[in-house]
C-alpha cells in the first residue's frame, strides 16, 4: 500500500496508511478507495485535532453502524500510539494481528470426504434409496444421507405467490395503453398510430424469510435444515436467512456461496451459539425491531423452523409473533416434532405462538419439506381467512 517513495508522502498520507493498517488488522474491511478518501478528508480537516481526524475517519472508513465500536477502539489505540511516537513513525507493523481462521469446524459435523465410493451407479437402486430417504426422519440421517438429501433439497423450488409490481411491461392483453411502444410502432407506419400497444403491471416474487432455530433441542434437525436453508438461499433471489438461538444472527451473506460446504462452514463460523439455549421471543423481537417490521418482513413469507421450546417468557413470543404476522403476508411454522404420534403443542412457546401462525407444518423429513414447498406455493387463498 505504501508504494510511494518516502520522500513524497505527506504526514496526512502516512497517518492514513498507518491507521488503515491498524483497522485492517483489527478486522475491518477497508477498500483502497475508502483509504484514499480518508487521505483527501484529512487534507481538508487537518491532522492536528483528535476530533477532526476521528470524524474524518468515521465518514470515510466506516460503512455500517456495527463497525463503529471496532473503529472507536482501534482509533483510541492508534491515537495513543501516534501521540507517543509522533505521527510520522509508520512502523506500525508489529501491532497488526491477522485474524487467521483455522479449520476447527466443531459444529459442522459432516465434512469428511470419505463416503464417495458408496455411489451406486444403478439408477433403480438410487431411486429407491431416494424414496427411503424421502420419508426418513432427519434425526436418523447419517452423513452420506445428509449429503444426498442436500442434492434433493436443491431441487425444491420455493416459488410463493407473486405480487403485483409497480413496473409495467408490454403485453397484448394489458389494459393500459403502452404509449412508448405505440409511438415506436407508428413510426414504422409513417407516423400513423394504427396499431395500439398495451401494457400491464409485472409480477414480482415475494421475499422469503427463513428463521432457523439452532438451539440444543433442535440439534438432530438443525444440520439437515441448515442445508435446506442453504438450498433456498443459493437457489433464489430475495431470500433472507437468520439463525435463532440465544441471539439472532443473520446468515444470508454466508449462505450465498453455491458450494454447500463453503457456505455451511461460513455460516457455522458466523453463528456462535450453536446448540445452546433458546430465546425465541427475544430473538424474534430483535428480528422485528432491526429487520422485519422496518421492511424485510413486509409482504413477505416468513418461515420459522423450530420445535417451539423456549426458555423465555411465552408472552413475549406471542406478542412478537403477532407483530410479525401483522406485517407479513404469511407465517409458516415448521416443527419437526409435529409428526410424533399424539403430538400436541405442549411446548409453551409453541402454544403461545400458534394463534399467529397461518400454516403449521411438519419438517422432519424430505417429504415434509416438499410439502412445505407446496404450502408456500399455495398461499394465495389463505390471506382472506385471517
Amino acid at each position: 500500500m505504501a508504494g510511494t517513495a518516502p520522500g513524497d508522502t505527506t504526514p496526512a498520507e502516512r497517518m492514513a496508511v498507518t491507521f488503515t493498517r491498524v483497522l485492517r488488522g483489527a478486522g475491518l474491511r477497508v477498500p483502497l478507495g475508502s483509504a484514499i478518501a480518508f487521505v483527501d478528508a484529512l487534507g481538508k480537516v487537518g491532522i492536528d485535532q483528535r476530533e477532526s481526524v476521528y470524524w474524518a475517519g468515521r465518514a470515510t472508513l466506516v460503512r455500517r453502524p456495527e463497525d463503529i465500536q471496532l473503529f472507536d477502539r482501534s482509533f483510541a489505540a492508534f491515537w495513543l500510539g501516534a501521540g507517543d511516537r509522533s505521527v510520522s513513525a509508520p512502523a506500525e507493523e508489529l501491532h497488526i494481528t491477522l485474524a487467521v481462521d483455522d479449520d476447527s469446524d466443531d459444529s459442522d459435523d459432516s465434512d469428511d470426504d470419505a463416503g464417495e465410493a458408496n455411489d451406486d451407479p444403478t439408477i433403480t437402486l438410487r431411486f429407491s434409496a431416494t424414496e427411503v430417504l424421502r420419508h426418513k426422519d432427519f434425526a436418523q440421517y447419517n452423513d452420506d444421507e445428509l449429503r444426498m438429501a442436500q442434492e434433493l433439497m436443491t431441487q425444491l423450488r420455493f416459488v410463493g405467490p407473486p405480487r403485483r409490481s409497480f413496473r409495467q411491461h408490454s403485453s397484448p392483453h394489458g389494459r393500459r395503453p403502452d404509449l412508448a411502444a405505440t409511438v415506436r410502432a407508428s413510426l414504422r407506419a409513417g407516423g400513423e398510430p394504427i396499431r395500439r400497444r398495451w401494457r400491464e403491471p409485472g409480477q414480482r416474487m415475494r421475499r422469503l424469510v427463513l428463521l432457523l432455530d439452532i438451539s440444543g433441542s433442535m440439534e438432530p434437525y438443525a444440520r439437515a435444515m441448515l442445508r435446506f436453508v442453504h438450498a433456498a438461499v443459493s437457489g433464489r433471489q430475495r431470500v433472507e436467512a437468520f439463525a435463532i438461538g440465544t441471539r439472532l444472527t443473520r446468515m444470508t451473506k454466508e449462505l450465498h456461496s453455491r458450494d454447500p460446504d463453503t457456505a455451511l462452514a461460513a455460516a457455522s463460523m458466523r453463528v456462535h451459539d450453536w446448540s445452546g439455549g433458546t430465546r425465541l421471543g427475544d430473538c424474534l423481537r430483535t428480528f422485528n425491531d432491526q429487520w422485519g417490521v422496518r421492511g424485510m418482513a413486509r409482504g413477505a413469507i416468513v418461515v420459522i423452523l423450530s420445535d417451539g421450546w423456549d426458555r423465555g417468557d411465552p408472552m413475549v413470543l406471542a406478542d412478537q409473533m403477532q407483530r410479525l404476522q401483522r406485517v407479513c403476508y404469511q407465517t409458516v411454522w415448521v416443527n419437526p416434532l409435529k409428526v410424533t404420534p399424539g403430538y400436541a403443542p405442549l411446548a409453551r412457546g409453541m402454544a403461545a405462538a400458534l394463534p399467529f401462525v397461518d400454516d403449521f407444518v411438519e419438517g422432519h423429513s424430505l417429504a415434509a419439506m416438499q410439502q412445505l414447498a407446496a404450502v408456500i406455493a399455495g398461499a394465495p387463498l389463505r390471506r382472506e381467512t385471517r
Partner: protein, 307 residues
C-alpha cells in the same frame, strides 16, 4: 456562487442558523461532502432527522432541493427521464395533417420525435441537467426501498454525474449537485454504492442538543417545558419500546403541549398527549406500566436547571 465552508464548525454554525443543530460528526461529514464533492449517505433510526439535513442544506446554500423518494419497483422512467408520449403522438398527427411528414424520411421524423423538447426530466435528470449558479441539493430518500438494479444505476450516475439518453446523447452536470442519500436500513445498501459515499450514522441527539432543537423548532415552548420534554423523551428511549421516539416525535410533542398552553408537564397532560410521541398502542401500554407519574417526576429532575 456555490457555498464553500472553511471548516466543520462553519458548517455547524450555518446549519444552526438555518434551523438544524448538528453534532460534530454530522457537521464534519457534511463539510467533507461539500469540499470533497462526494455524496453523503445518512443512516439511522426513523425520525432522527436524516431528511431534514437535505432540506436545511438547501435553505443554507440556496440550491434548489430536488427530492427523489425511492420505492420498490422505481425505475428509470420515474427517476431519470421519460418521453412525453402523448405529445409525441400529437406531434405526429400534426405533422401529418399539415403535410409536413410527406417530405420526411422515417429517420428524420424519428429525430423530430426523440428530441429534448419531448423529454420529461425526472428528479435525477433535473439534478444533473441543472442550469444556474448554485448547485442543487439532490435528496435520494430511503434508498433501501428501491431495488438492487436501481442502486446499480444510481452508482453510475453518482460516480460521473452523467446520464446518457440513447436517442439524444450524454448529459453532464456543469455543477454537480450536493447529494444526500438516506436509508432506514431495512436492507443493506450495496457495498459498491457505500464506497462511493461518505457515511454517517445519525444518532438520537443528546439531552442538551435536543433541548436546543426543541427551543428552536418550537419557539413558543418555554425553556422549562423544553427541558422537561427532552428529559421525558430521554426516559422513554430507555424503556425498550418498539419505536423509541425520534427528534421528530419530540418536536411534535412539544408543539402539542405548547398548543395546549402548558408551561410544564403534568400527569394528566402527558396521558392526554402521549399519542403525539408514541405511535404504537403497545408502547403506550408499556409506558403506563412504567408509570406516567414516574416519567413526569424524572422529567422534572432532568429538566431542573441549576441556575
Amino acid at each position: 456562487m456555490a457555498t464553500q465552508p472553511d471548516s466543520p464548525s462553519d458548517v455547524s454554525n450555518a446549519l444552526s442558523l438555518h434551523g438544524y443543530i448538528p453534532d460534530d460528526g454530522l457537521a464534519t461529514s457534511v463539510f467533507l461532502a461539500m469540499t470533497l464533492r462526494r455524496p453523503l449517505l445518512l443512516e439511522g433510526e426513523a425520525g432522527v432527522g436524516k431528511t431534514e439535513v437535505a432540506k436545511v442544506l438547501s435553505r443554507w446554500t440556496g440550491g434548489e432541493l430536488i427530492r427523489l423518494q425511492c420505492y420498490e419497483g422505481i425505475d428509470v422512467s420515474q427517476a431519470v427521464y421519460d418521453w412525453d408520449y402523448s405529445r409525441q403522438l400529437l406531434h405526429l398527427r400534426a405533422a401529418e395533417a399539415t403535410g409536413e411528414s410527406l417530405g420526411l424520411t422515417t429517420t428524420a421524423l424519428e429525430q423530430q420525435l426523440y428530441n429534448e423538447r419531448f423529454l420529461l426530466k425526472r428528479a435525477l435528470m433535473q439534478a444533473i441537467d441543472h442550469v444556474g449558479e448554485i448547485p442543487p441539493v439532490l435528496l435520494i430518500d430511503e434508498i433501501d426501498r428501491a431495488d438492487d438494479e436501481f442502486e446499480a444505476y444510481l452508482l453510475e450516475v453518482l460516480s460521473d454525474y452523467q446520464i446518457t439518453v440513447p436517442e439524444i446523447g450524454r448529459f453532464t452536470a456543469v455543477r454537480p449537485p450536493l447529494v444526500i442519500l438516506t436509508s432506514n436500513r431495512t436492507r443493506d445498501v450495496h457495498d459498491a454504492l457505500k464506497r462511493r459515499c461518505l457515511y454517517h450514522w445519525v444518532e438520537h441527539p443528546d439531552f442538551e442538543r435536543e433541548v436546543r432543537i426543541v427551543r428552536m423548532r418550537v419557539p413558543q415552548a418555554l425553556e422549562r417545558l423544553a427541558r422537561q420534554v427532552a428529559g421525558a423523551v430521554e426516559t422513554l428511549r430507555t424503556l425498550n419500546l418498539y419505536k423509541p421516539p425520534g427528534v421528530a416525535e419530540t418536536i411534535d410533542w412539544a408543539q402539542a403541549l405548547a398548543a395546549l398552553g402548558r408551561q410544564e408537564l403534568d400527569e394528566a397532560t402527558v396521558e392526554a398527549t402521549l399519542g403525539a410521541v408514541l405511535k404504537y398502542r403497545e408502547d403506550q401500554d408499556r409506558t403506563r406500566q412504567h408509570g406516567i407519574a414516574d416519567l413526569v417526576k424524572q422529567a422534572f429532575e432532568r429538566g431542573f436547571q441549576p441556575s
